[in-house]
Structures are given as structure tokens and as C-alpha cells.
């Protein structure tokens, strides 16, 4: 199979869909000749023209509102927010509008839009351009939330998101754009709500999202040298969440570490941990569940401090070892 980057996979997914479906169009800041802040849409305005690759005025609220209006009347917009931090400015449109309209209209009306946006730290973009706010979105009934970690996944999940009749928040991680993987040339769809086991193992389950999938895999490779067998589960979509796959994995390993880049407090890791605590996997646990997440600080600009603010491979290894050393003692 051919190798392409995560970024190219996003572009290809959109381009193929736009060739098939005239109702799909993109809107966002600087997505024309400039190709978007990360170059994802580069070359697309040349193929699809300025009506379908629409540069917008700088107004995230209007970008979201316009997409909703277009979606309600039969178009299938993809909107690109230049940085996911700017979702704050479009929040009313997303939370009070997009997420609620189908419900409030008694099913007569739908908002089939995909909000694509780069998230995460690691590019030296500082406090207001580096956040991971996906947990906010997962709290809102009516939205779906996707966090692809590989080139293969991003293409298939984006296809599913574009086909979906609900508003989908689609988080792309900035540091993943350049990562490569095998990606089929033809269109394919990965169902939203289907986790992927990125590595099989028997001793500890690590559930990791986005860039942390790769850090977890690195940690797993290190731990393997010490004879510790790690299973890495990538939920791929946070809403809907494939609880079954996680539960099955935990039943097998009896230990769970949850890793995400977002600030640990109030992060989605809490949801995953709770889902396990509520499930029949709870009885299988041999150690308390461990969460690894970002520090409760804004992301610093300084590269060293930036790294210190979010989980790194050694943090994951340490967490795994803690769960291995800490048995739940049963009082007979």
C-alpha cells in the first residue's frame, strides 16, 4: 500500500468526497491559496474553486453559524477552525445551536457538518494556540467527537464524519500532520464509535488518544524489553465511545492506565475510568485505575516547559509501573 502523511490523508478524504458530492464545501480562514495554517487545504482551491473552498472573514462565530445555516438547508459543510482554541468564539453556535437543533425541531431538521480543527501542543504556539479542549465537546449531547491518531484512521474517520448527519467535531493533532502511514487510495469509512487495538498485550491496558497513542506505543516498546506486555487501545472517537472494547481489554489485563494530552482534571480520562468502574470489568481490576494527563497549567511557550506540561513517554512508563506495583488487596 502507498504511504502518505496524516495531513495528506485529511486532504484526500475531503477532495474525494468533494468530487463525489457537490453539496460538500469547506469554509475557514486562509484556506484558499494559503492552504490553511498547516497547509491541509493546499491545492484545493485550484481544483474546486473559491466557491467550494471558501476563505472567510475572521469570525469563528460566523463560520460556525454559516455552516449550520447551510447544513440545515441541505449543504454538507466542512468548517476549518484555524486552531481548536478558537472554538471558544464559536461556542454558542456549536453548543446551543448545532448540537440542539435536530432535537428541538423534533427530528425535522439536521446539521450535517464537520468541524475540523488542529489541536494540541508541541509546536511552540503557546497558551492560546495549544489546548486540548475536547472534553468540553464530549459533554454536549448532540455532538460527536473524533480524535484520529494515524493517517489510515484519519482518512476513514473523516469519511464517516462527512457521511454523518450530525454535527461532528473532528480534532486533528498538529504534531500528527507529518506522520506517515499506509493509506488506501480509494475512499473507505471507519465507523464512528469503534475503538482500535493498536497493540495487543496481556499485563496492562493503556487507553490513549491522539498523539498519546504514539507515546503509549513507545512506552509499550520500552516496557516490552522488561518483559511487561502492554495492550494499547485507541478509542478513536470519544463520542460515541466504544466501551465494549475497553472493557474487554481490561478484563484481560486487569490493569488500566488512561493517557491524554488534555489537562487531567476534568479530562476525558475521567469518563473512561468511570465507564470501567461502572462495568463488570471493575471486578477484574488488580490495581487502581491510573490517569495520566496534562498538568493543570496553560501550555507554556518555552519548548522545555511545554514538554513538561503534557505527558511524555517516561510518565506513561512510570504510571504503568505504579499500577503493576500496587495491588488491590482483598480483605477476606
Amino acid at each position: 500500500m502507498r504511504e502518505i502523511t496524516y495531513l495528506e490523508a485529511v486532504r484526500e478524504a475531503m477532495s474525494q468526497e468533494m468530487r463525489e458530492n457537490k453539496d460538500v464545501f469547506i469554509l475557514g480562514e486562509d484556506i484558499g491559496v494559503y492552504g490553511g495554517a498547516f497547509g491541509v487545504t493546499r491545492g484545493m482551491i485550484e481544483e474546486f474553486g473559491p466557491e467550494r473552498v471558501r476563505n472567510t472573514p475572521i469570525s469563528e462565530s460566523a463560520i460556525a453559524g454559516t455552516a449550520i445555516g447551510a447544513a440545515l438547508t441541505g449543504m454538507r459543510p466542512i468548517l476549518e477552525l484555524q486552531f481548536s482554541d478558537f472554538i471558544t468564539i464559536s461556542m454558542d453556535q456549536i453548543v446551543n445551536q448545532a448540537a440542539k437543533l435536530r432535537y428541538m425541531y423534533g427530528g425535522k431538521g439536521k446539521v450535517p457538518m464537520v468541524l475540523r480543527t488542529p489541536a494540541g501542543s508541541g509546536t511552540g504556539a503557546a497558551a492560546q494556540h495549544s489546548q486540548s479542549l475536547e472534553a468540553w465537546m464530549t459533554h454536549i449531547p448532540g455532538l460527536k467527537v473524533v480524535q484520529p491518531s494515524t493517517a489510515y484512521d484519519v482518512k476513514g474517520l473523516l469519511k464517516a464524519a462527512m457521511d454523518d448527519d450530525n454535527p461532528v467535531i473532528f480534532y486533528e493533532h498538529k504534531l500528527l500532520y507529518k506522520t506517515k502511514g499506509d493509506v488506501p487510495e480509494e475512499q473507505y469509512s471507519i465507523p464512528l464509535g469503534k475503538a482500535d487495538i493498536k497493540r495487543e498485550g496481556t499485563d496492562v491496558t493503556i487507553v490513549a488518544t491522539a498523539i498519546m497513542v504514539h507515546k503509549a506505543l513507545e512506552a509499550a516498546a520500552e516496557l516490552d524489553k522488561e518483559g511487561i506486555s502492554i495492550e494499547v487501545v485507541d478509542p478513536r472517537t470519544l463520542v460515541p465511545l466504544d466501551t465494549d472494547t475497553i472493557v474487554e481489554s481490561v478484563k484481560k489485563t486487569s490493569r488500566l492506565v488512561v493517557v491524554h494530552e488534555a489537562v487531567k482534571r476534568g479530562g476525558y480520562g475521567g469518563e473512561i475510568a468511570s465507564a470501567i468502574a461502572e462495568s463488570d470489568a471493575f471486578d477484574y481490576l488488580d490495581a487502581p485505575i491510573k490517569r495520566v494527563g496534562g498538568k493543570a497549567v496553560p501550555i507554556p511557550y518555552n519548548p522545555e516547559l511545554e514538554k513538561a506540561a503534557v505527558p511524555q513517554v517516561p510518565d506513561i512508563i512510570e504510571a504503568v509501573k505504579e499500577t503493576l506495583n500496587k495491588r488491590i488487596t482483598t480483605h477476606a
Binding site: E29, D30, G32, V33, Y34, N55, P57, I58, S59, S61, A62, D85, F86, I89, G124, A126, Q128, H129, R265, K295, A296, V297, P298, P300, Y301, N302, L305, A308, A309
Partner: protein
């Protein structure tokens, strides 16, 4: 209806005092500045042009971080700041570091801002300003608040905020002007229309022919100024300031200008969206060239004088970079300690964890 719109636009014809050849075209509006003050304006523009060149070079060498080039916009930036008093409060955008410097922010701190060091954002006592805003539009509603506070305290001062043509598309822009107008607060909203918001030309940003006319709906004063004419920018700002402190409410100033360089130093290539012709057209309007001609005509400026400023700028920049280098490095414990007035218990735990790590 179309006729009304055209009428509105015709009222926002560009205000100019000296033309591209350095000739006075509007004697009546000529501000009352002494020879020393006129020379000081030129001094600041030359200095800032050098600062821009050096900042770009330092960025390329990896000695500066985030930097948004300023060349071309000196008259807009410095002419407006020159009309301010120490008590006036600046809310700048990311490109507006020069105004901060001339308002009192030490150069080494401006460099630290570029490097993302906290000390770059710690305004010295008596420097009335916020550090540059990164989120487009956020400073504009805040300016209404600063101005409101001034009004309430009976201060004879104004809040002045800067954004670009792109910034006028945000809701915050309209909302901020409307608030300040409703309260007749002493705010000045400067829009530096440099024709491009990253890659998007102003014609694609709005169907309005001027940005100044956006004041009309808010019921406030609005004026379009030649942003390459430092005297026009100065005079318009001075006037807006007078009205502000006299309780006559806020003003929107649109300055027509151009950024010669890339959007920021983070990899923008303007040839993707601008033509050489347009670049050349604007370079002919250069604020330094025209003001130099004007001053030379009055016998107030010479090559010697200019070289002195250049040398001074270079030396001060060198010293400031050195001082910036000498600042203690930031630590994780610094990050944690700045977040709250008093550390909540969970952060105390993080603090202890990192104190231990840092002591090793």
C-alpha cells in the same frame, strides 16, 4: 438604498496632511508640533525600522521567537502613540510592540515577550498597557472596559486599542465599539488596514468600502487616515483623544497602510497571495521616505542624523538582547505559582513535586 451607502462612504475620504513627495497638502490640519517633536517622530520611525530588521535577523538566528514584522506600518503605529500621554492605556495586537516600547516597555522585555518569557508581559510600574493580544478581537471589548473605568474614576485619559483589517470581522469589534459608544467612554479604536489578514485581502473581508464607516452604525466618530502619513495619523489620534477626555465619546480610526514583510516569522510567504506590483505601489508611499523629504525640506534632517539614529538603535538592540539573555530561565514552579493569587491545594501538590525535581 444603494445611494445611502454611497453617501456614507463618501464621508470617509482619506485624511492626509503630507503627500508621497513630502509636501503639505492640508495646511489647515497641520498639527502644532515643535521642530524637536517633528524630529523625534522621525527618530522613532527610523529606530523602529531598524528594530524590525534586527528582530527579523534575530528570529532567523533563533535568538527571538514569535515576531510579527512592522515595516511599512511605522506611521500608523508611532503617529498614533505619539498623540498619547503617559496616563493613556494601550491595548495592542501582536504587531503593535513598537507602541509599547515608546509607551515605556523596555526593549529587553519586548524581546522576552517574543521568547514567551513571563517577564516580557510584566508591565513596569507606570506603563499603562496590556501585553499584545493574540486572539483576534479580544482586546477591543476590553478597551471599552478600560475606557469605562477611566471615565468612572474621572481620569483625563483614554484607552486606545489596535487591530487589523481582519480584526474588524469579529463580533468583538462591533460589540466593543457599541459598548464604548453606549457609555460614551473615552476609547480609540485604531484599525490598521494593511490590506491583508494573513492571506485574505480586505476586499474579501468585508463588502464595505471603508472600515472607518463601521463607526456609523455604532453612533461614534469615525475617520479614515493615510496610514503612511505620520502627521495625519498623529493629528487624527490627538483629535480623538481630545474628544475622549472631553466626554464626547469614542472614535474609530482606520489607517491605510501596508505590511512589507510576512505576516509573522512562522513561515508565511506573501508571494502566495500578493503581487510585486502591489508591493511596489505601497513602497512608493513609504512613511519614512515621505517624512524624511518633508523634514529635509525644512532643514531639519540629514543623512548624518539618520545614521546616528541607526547606530543608536543597533547598539541599544544589542544591549537589550544581552539583557534578555541574562534573565533567569523560567521554571515549572514559576508557571504554577503565577496561576492563582493563592495556590489551591491540588497545585500545592504539583508545586512540591516540581520543587523536588528542580532541586536535583
Amino acid at each position: 438604498m444603494k445611494r445611502t451607502i454611497e453617501n456614507v462612504e463618501s464621508q470617509f475620504e482619506m485624511f492626509q496632511i503630507i503627500n508621497e513627495d513630502g509636501e503639505i497638502v492640508n495646511q489647515e490640519a497641520m498639527p502644532n508640533l515643535s521642530d524637536e517633536e517633528l524630529k523625534e517622530l522621525m527618530h522613532r520611525m527610523v529606530y523602529t525600522r531598524i528594530l524590525d530588521q534586527r528582530s527579523i535577523a534575530l528570529n532567523r538566528q533563533g535568538r527571538l521567537g514569535f515576531y510579527a514584522p512592522t515595516a511599512g506600518q511605522e506611521a500608523s503605529q508611532l503617529g498614533s502613540q505619539f498623540a498619547l500621554e503617559k496616563d493613556d492605556f494601550i491595548l495592542p495586537g501582536y504587531r503593535d510592540v513598537p507602541q509599547l516600547i515608546w509607551h515605556g516597555l523596555p526593549l529587553y522585555q519586548a524581546f522576552l515577550f517574543s521568547r514567551g518569557h513571563f517577564h516580557g508581559n510584566q508591565m513596569p510600574e507606570g506603563v499603562n498597557a496590556l501585553s499584545p493580544q493574540i486572539i483576534i478581537g479580544a482586546q477591543i471589548t476590553q478597551a471599552a472596559g478600560v475606557a469605562l473605568g477611566m471615565k468612572k474614576r474621572g481620569k483625563k485619559a483614554v484607552a486606545i486599542t489596535y487591530t487589523g483589517d481582519g480584526g474588524t470581522s469579529q463580533g468583538d469589534f462591533y460589540e466593543g465599539m457599541n459598548f464604548a459608544g453606549a457609555y460614551q467612554a473615552p476609547a480609540i479604536f485604531v484599525v490598521q488596514n494593511n490590506r491583508f489578514a494573513i492571506s485574505v485581502p480586505v476586499e474579501k473581508q468585508t463588502a464595505a468600502q471603508t472600515l472607518a464607516q463601521k463607526a456609523v452604525a455604532a453612533g461614534i466618530e469615525g475617520i479614515q487616515v493615510d496610514g503612511m502619513d505620520v502627521l495625519a495619523v498623529y493629528a487624527a489620534t490627538k483629535d480623538a483623544r481630545e474628544r475622549g477626555i472631553n466626554g464626547e465619546g469614542p472614535t474609530l480610526i482606520e489607517t491605510l497602510t501596508y505590511r512589507y514583510g510576512p505576516h509573522t516569522m512562522a513561515g508565511d510567504d506573501p508571494t502566495r497571495y500578493r503581487t510585486d506590483d502591489l508591493d511596489n505601489e505601497w513602497e512608493k508611499k513609504d512613511p519614512l521616505v515621505r517624512f524624511r523629504k518633508f523634514l529635509e525640506g525644512k532643514g531639519l534632517w540629514s543623512e548624518d542624523e539618520e545614521n546616528k539614529v541607526i547606530d543608536q538603535a543597533k547598539e541599544e538592540i544589542k544591549a537589550a538582547i544581552k539583557k534578555a539573555d541574562e534573565q533567569p530561565k523560567q521554571k515549572v514552579t514559576d508557571l504554577i505559582s503565577y496561576m492563582y493569587e493563592e495556590l489551591p491545594s491540588n497545585l500545592k501538590e504539583q508545586m512540591e513535586e516540581y520543587k523536588e525535581k528542580e532541586s536535583k
